[in-house]
């Protein structure tokens, strides 16, 4: 019944829409789906609701609009839309402008939100006609354009529609007379049209181009300009603008140069740079603009505003290649004059760089344009520029050599022809000048210009490791001067020690020559490398060494031959056999050199065997662990770099490096005749880290056999596994004098580094764990103890059988708790095991771990246990290098630290509040360790209530804890000043108290931490909070100015200077 209604009553569209009447028949024809009365009523009701509500963004209006969209999207969108239009008939035809606009707005809104794809082509056409016809109705235009955006985004919007829409908008809407939002909508429509219906629009080419220029003429809003510039670029690319070049140019270029400063709160997120760049893309989009734009750009080059000048230079650089040589040639002198002034009288590095980019771009364009003629023309064009640079190079004052060099580099980087012509003109002159002077600074200045040429030649003719497809036939014109350069650079490097600048330039020169493609022969490269070697072997100056190392590292990228054959062996030879041998170049410097170079696979291979030999020798002769540790740390850092760079040659070390160390350690432990260097804790720990990094790099199937061998070796004393001669290897035997115990650390390293799926060669994990626990409980060797608990922790953390884990740990925990609470002699061992198990479980967020932590918190109240228990928080939640970390495949639940923190924090705070004063500090210790190990973000959010507690903890004697608490404060002042501000009055005296040097509990690292913390106040907090304390603090800080330690005084000076800024 409703349907018949619909078909017999055409929708009476308002305002002379006669033309769309014929359309509406078709419109209605397609819309013949039955509607449920229910839906219809609801639409009608909501339309009324919408129309009676105030405005179009009030709560009621939005609600009604949302309901309508929902109703329309139910079942057939097309039919529902019709129903909607019918319901709105009375409003759409109203005589009241506001009502008409509001109703149109509702329709447009619905078109936006409804499922557009289900409106078919015919319906879209009808709607488009309907919308376009009404564009003369000024009040409704904003709403109509909104609707057109929706329609133009539809897939069923055709090319014909596009042409209609564009024509009608140009015809009927004066876009610039509408507010910003409406103009933006219009640009959005154009964008949609061009994105989707380019070919259809080309049919009305001139009309469209002209229409568009009209609609953007006078635009001022940055958001709209961004859209408009984008469209201009598209138009230039896709349309024939021949008829309207000037129009289009005028409406775009009028914005140049852009001076735009975003409003203070930057609501649009558009920067001046965004605008500049998109305008630049328009200006440089076609050569047709050249004649119009170039004079204007040139004029702006001499602008007094730095930003306009920079913009002009950048625009020139972008336009030059598009505009072409023929346009540039007549004004080339002017261009060069303007650009070189910027370099010679540079006030701002950015401007200078822009000018240089401009020069390069212009010269490249000229070269490309003139290439057809002859090289002579480019030479002639460049002549004035080159002549001026030469004049500057000749001046005895060094002031302008640098800018002249930079200009020449920019110009010669541009093309082969330019490069050859400039180099032939300038380099002989430079060489002569170099010969004629003896003054080091002058020589350096000349050499730096030569370096500029080498850089230019390198960028033009390719770097030695660069693309292979670069033109191979072209050879750098510098090659002619190769030998002279060699002479100059080498003599500079070996020159007197007085002036590093000269020597550094020499090094740079050699590096550039080596790095330029096809420049040096293999042999000559060797000579270059030798020069760098010489620096590393003979120079103590860090600046030179660093430069030489950096150069070698660059060279390594493509040629390792000489570095493998010469550099590495020479460096090895320089390493002393004992730290007691004094040498000009310290072993630390040589090791640094190796550390930088050796991650490279070929060097790694060459360096490792001699380095191991050196390590053995040093262990045999030295009695200070510093040197062997330094060697190990070098090795470690090389391996770490290799891991980071994903090298594949770490795994083979399992057969070389790792057995070497283990064998050395075991042999040493079997020989009880003397004290063994390798068994010292520091050395062994570094060895363990090296072993771990190698084992971690192995896949499971490679780990397994090695692990099996290690188990046989350690559990059964089977020395044949590593071909060790001898017998009696029983590291787990409980004997007070057993030095073999220390080697447990290496076993622990291997076990801890295993992947999760490794099956250990033991009959049952439970029995193995029990065995380890038993050994640990009786062990008196500290290294062995920590090594064993690391193994226990790793095993429990990676144990796959969850049920078995729970069962075993419950039993073991009970057993340990008994030992601990009875205060048996070995309760410390038991507690250690307990803490590591807790750690292993907390890491995987296992419930049992939390239960065990609660027990530990309970122990904090125990007068005898309390101290160790509270320190245990460092074990439970701290990070450990040697086990249970990410690299060693530990199971770590995400955010386990956060979870642990929120769980235990209230318990510790509670414990603190409710315990007697003599054990209170145990909770503070636990708390501080907790805070130390928690990620910064959580720390800061939880900090405010803890600040008073932390202030109370400052007088506690533990110094590491003090430093950590002070660091926490420092962090908080920087990142959460609001948490600290209320407590300034109590913190400052507490901090100043710690500066007392007579108190043994305030060692220098505490004093330094205090001063760093105090220095943070003026940076983090506002002056009005600090002002009342400033005079007091500066007065108190007089004392640390006379501290006995220089490093403390340094911080005091720093800190006091900061507080003085508060006073003034």
């Amino acid at each position: 019944m409703q349907r018949s209604d619909v078909t017999t009553t055409p929708v009476p569209f308002p305002l002379k829409v006669t033309s769309s009447f014929s359309g509406s028949a078709a419109f209605l024809y397609y819309w013949h789906f039955p509607l449920t009365t229910n839906l219809m009523d609801s639409i009608e009701r909501e339309v009324t609701n919408y129309m009676v509500s105030t405005g179009d963004s009030s709560a009621e209006a939005s609600q009604a609009a949302a309901n309508i969209v929902q109703a329309v999207n139910t079942a057939s969108v097309q039919a529902n839309l019709l129903q909607l239009i019918q319901s709105m008939e009375e409003y759409l035809t109203s005589d009241d402008d506001q009502i008409r606009a509001k109703a149109t707005g509702l329709l447009s809104h619905t078109l936006h939100k409804c499922d557009q794809q289900s409106i078919n082509e015919a319906a879209v056409s009808v709607l488009v006609d309907f919308y376009c016809d009404r564009l003369t109705d000024r009040t409704c235009v904003p709403n109509l354009l909104e609707g057109l955006v929706a329609l133009t985004s539809s897939d069923n919007f055709t090319g014909t529609n596009a042409v209609t829409t564009a024509t009608r908008i140009f015809e009927r809407v004066e876009i610039q007379r509408f507010p910003q939002a409406t103009r933006n909508t219009a640009f959005h429509i154009f964008e949609n049209l061009m994105d989707r219906h380019l070919s259809a629009l080309k049919a009305i080419n001139n009309e469209f181009v002209y229409g568009f220029t009209q609609s953007m003429d006078g635009e001022k809003d940055p958001r709209n300009l961004m859209a408009a510039f984008k469209l201009v670029k598209l138009i230039v690319q896709h349309f024939d603008i021949g008829a309207h070049v000037e129009d289009l140019f005028e409406v775009t270029f009028c914005y140049f140069p852009i001076t735009f400063k975003p409003p203070p709160d930057d609501p649009y997120g558009i920067t001046a740079d965004d605008l500049k760049q998109s305008l630049r893309q328009c200006i440089s989009s076609t050569g047709l603009f050249a004649k119009l734009a170039l004079p204007l750009i040139l004029e702006k080059l001499s602008s007094t505003s730095g930003s306009a000048k920079k913009d002009s230079m950048e625009t020139l650089a972008a336009c030059a290649p598009v505009y072409g040589a023929n346009v540039l040639l007549p004004v080339i002198d002017e261009i060069f004059d303007a650009l070189k002034v910027e370099v010679f009288h540079s006030t701002d590095q950015a401007l200078e760089d822009a000018a240089l980019v401009g020069i390069e771009s212009v010269v490249a364009t000229l070269s490309a344009g003139l290439a057809g003629n002859s090289g002579e023309t480019i030479e002639k064009t460049l002549k004035p520029l080159v002549v001026e640079c030469i004049a500057n190079l000749k001046e005895p004052e060094l002031k302008n050599t640098k800018p002249a060099g930079r200009i020449l580099r920019a110009a010669s980087s541009a093309s082969y022809a330019a490069c050859a012509s400039i180099i032939n003109a300038v380099v002989p002159l430079l060489l002569r000048q170099y010969r004629e002077t003896e003054i080091a600074t002058r020589r350096k200045a000349i050499m730096d210009v030569i370096l500029e040429f080498l850089e230019a030649s390198k960028s033009l003719y390719g770097a030695a490791d660069g693309d292979v497809d670069m033109d191979q036939t072209e050879v750098s014109p510098l090659i002619e001067y190769k030998d002279r350069f060699f002479g100059i650079f080498e003599s500079a490097i070996t020159s007197s020690n007085e002036y590093n600048g000269l020597r550094l330039s020499g090094l740079k020169g050699l590096e550039l020559m080596v790095l330029t493609k096809n420049f040096l022969s293999q042999n000559e490269r060797g000579i270059g490398v030798q020069a760098f070697n010489k620096i590393l072997l003979e120079e103590t100056d860090e600046e030179l060494r660093t430069a030489a190392l950096a150069s070698l590292k660059e060279i390594l990228q493509f040629d390792t031959k000489y570095i493998v054959e010469e550099t590495v062996p020479f460096l090895m030879k320089r390493l002393p056999d004992s730290a007691k041998e004094t040498q000009q170049i310290s072993y630390k410097q040589t090791l640094t050199a190796l550390k930088v170079l050796c991650p490279e696979p070929s060097l790694f291979k060459a360096a490792i065997p001699p380095l191991l030999q050196k390590f053995d020798k040093v262990c045999a002769t030295d009695n200070d662990p510093a040197y062997p540790c330094a060697i190990l740390r070098t090795l470690l850092s090389i391996l770490e770099v290799k891991v980071m760079e994903k090298h594949t040659d770490i795994s083979p070390c399992i057969d070389t490096l790792v057995p070497h160390f283990i064998v050395a350690a075991i042999n040493a432990s079997l020989d009880t005749s003397k004290k063994q260097m390798i068994l010292q804790n520091d050395v062994l720990e570094n060895v363990a880290l090296v072993i771990m990094i190698v084992v971690e790099s192995l896949k499971s199937d490679a780990q397994k056999p090695f692990v099996d061998r290690m188990f046989k070796l350690y559990l059964h004393g089977d020395l044949s596994q590593l071909n060790i001669q001898g017998s009696g290897f029983e590291p787990f035997k409980d004997e007070p004098s057993n030095v073999q115990k220390a080697t447990t650390q290496l076993f622990a390293a291997v076990v801890a580094a295993c992947r999760r799926d490794i099956n250990f060669p033991v009959t049952s994990i439970e029995d193995f764990l029990t065995q380890l626990v038993d050994i640990t409980l009786v062990s008196t060797d500290e290294i062995q103890q920590v090594s064993l608990v690391r193994i226990i922790g790793s095993l429990i953390n990676k144990w796959r059988d969850a049920a078995a884990t729970t069962k075993y740990v419950e039993n073991l925990a009970a057993r340990l708790e008994t030992i601990i609470s009875q205060n048996a002699t070995n309760y410390v061992n038991a507690l250690n095991i307990y803490l590591w198990i807790a750690r292993a479980l907390v890491l995987r967020s296992h419930q049992l771990g939390y239960k065990m932590t609660d027990t530990v918190i309970g122990w904090c109240a125990n007068p005898t246990l309390g101290k160790q228990a509270s320190k245990g928080f460092d074990i439970i939640i701290g990070d450990d290098q040697l086990a249970l970390n990410k690299a060693s495949f530990a199971i770590m639940a995400i955010l386990y630290k956060q979870r642990f923190f929120t769980d235990s924090l209230p318990k510790l705070v509670d414990g603190f509040r409710n315990s007697p004063s003599d054990i209170k500090h145990n909770y503070l210790i636990a708390l501080s360790y907790l805070l130390k190990n928690v990620p910064k973000q959580i720390l800061l959010s939880e900090l405010p209530p803890l600040v008073p507690l932390l202030i109370e903890s400052l007088p506690l004697p533990d110094t590491t804890l003090k430093v950590s608490t002070l660091d926490t404060f420092r962090l908080a002042i920087a990142d959460a000043p609001d948490a600290i501000a209320p407590h300034v009055r109590s913190i400052i005296p507490a901090l100043l108290e710690l500066l007392d040097t007579t108190n043994q509990q305030n060692p220098m690292d505490v004093r330094i931490a205090v001063l760093k913390c105090l220095a943070q106040f003026p940076l983090g907090l506002t002056n009005d909070i600090l002002q009342p304390h400033a005079r007091f603090v500066t007065k108190q800080l007089v004392k640390p100015l006379d501290d006995r330690k220089r490093l403390v005084r340094k911080e005091a000076v720093e800190c006091r200077a900061k507080w003085y800024t508060v006073i003034s």
């Binding site: 600048g501 060692p1003 220098m1004 100015l1041 490093l1047 005084r1049 720093e1054 006091r1056 003034s1064």
Partner: protein, 214 residues
């Protein structure tokens, strides 16, 4: 911009006004305020103008600073039981990174302060700093001296008596500058002036380690 010439009579003026300032010293009157050479040019020009005026020596020689004379930390430095006496190198460290009021360069880069021209006598609690103005008629000498004075006031223990002097023969009004810098009252009076203090603080802003690290 005020051409540099306008300052030509400045130095003579300072000489005479300096004598006047003695007369009014006790009264601490407004006239003293004007006649104090520190305040004289500060109160007559805004800090911006000082910078433009300073183009007196627009193109100073810049000395390359060497990283080698930065003290290398040894293990002893970290041993709390070893006493480190204050030495000239430490005082030099305090001064080297102060900015020159006219150039964006440090006193070290301009060779205004040099290590060998600083002496520290710990037993008699005496420090002597001699500095070399970039040019003999440098109108900024007093201001540079004041910056050094303030830096040391803030950074050295109170037990030291600090003398700050222009190196002999490097400035045409050497005596006047020296007297100015070592007169407690005048230094104090100078620092009462907000403008001047601001300029001094700006020069000292680069003196701290953070600035050096940049």
């Amino acid at each position: 911009m005020i051409p540099m010439r306008s300052l030509g009579s400045d130095i003579d003026h300072q000489q005479t006004s300096y004598q006047l300032s003695w007369l009014f010293l006790q009264q601490k009157s407004f006239i003293f305020f004007i006649n104090n050479p520190f305040l004289f040019f500060i109160s007559s020009f805004s800090p911006q103008i000082i910078i433009t005026m300073a183009l007196l020596n627009a193109n100073p020689v810049v000395y390359q600073t060497s990283i080698s004379n930065i003290r290398v930390e040894t293990e002893k430095d970290f041993d709390d039981d070893v006493l480190d006496p204050i030495d000239s190198e430490e005082v030099y460290e305090l001064l080297r990174s102060i900015s020159d009021p006219e150039h964006p360069l440090t006193l070290e880069q301009l060779n205004v302060t040099q290590l060998q021209h600083i002496s520290v006598d710990n037993d008699n609690n005496h420090v002597l700093v001699e500095f070399t103005p970039t040019i003999p008629h440098c109108s900024m000498a007093t201001l540079i001296g004041l910056c050094i004075r303030v830096r040391l006031l803030r950074s050295l223990p109170e037990r030291f008596k600090v003398d700050i002097k222009v190196r002999k023969g490097t400035h045409q009004s050497e005596n006047a500058v020296n007297k100015q810098l070592n007169d407690k009252e005048r230094v104090a009076a100078a620092l009462e002036n907000k403008h001047l203090l601001e300029v001094v603080n700006q020069c000292l802003a680069t003196a701290s380690r953070d600035a050096v690290a940049q």
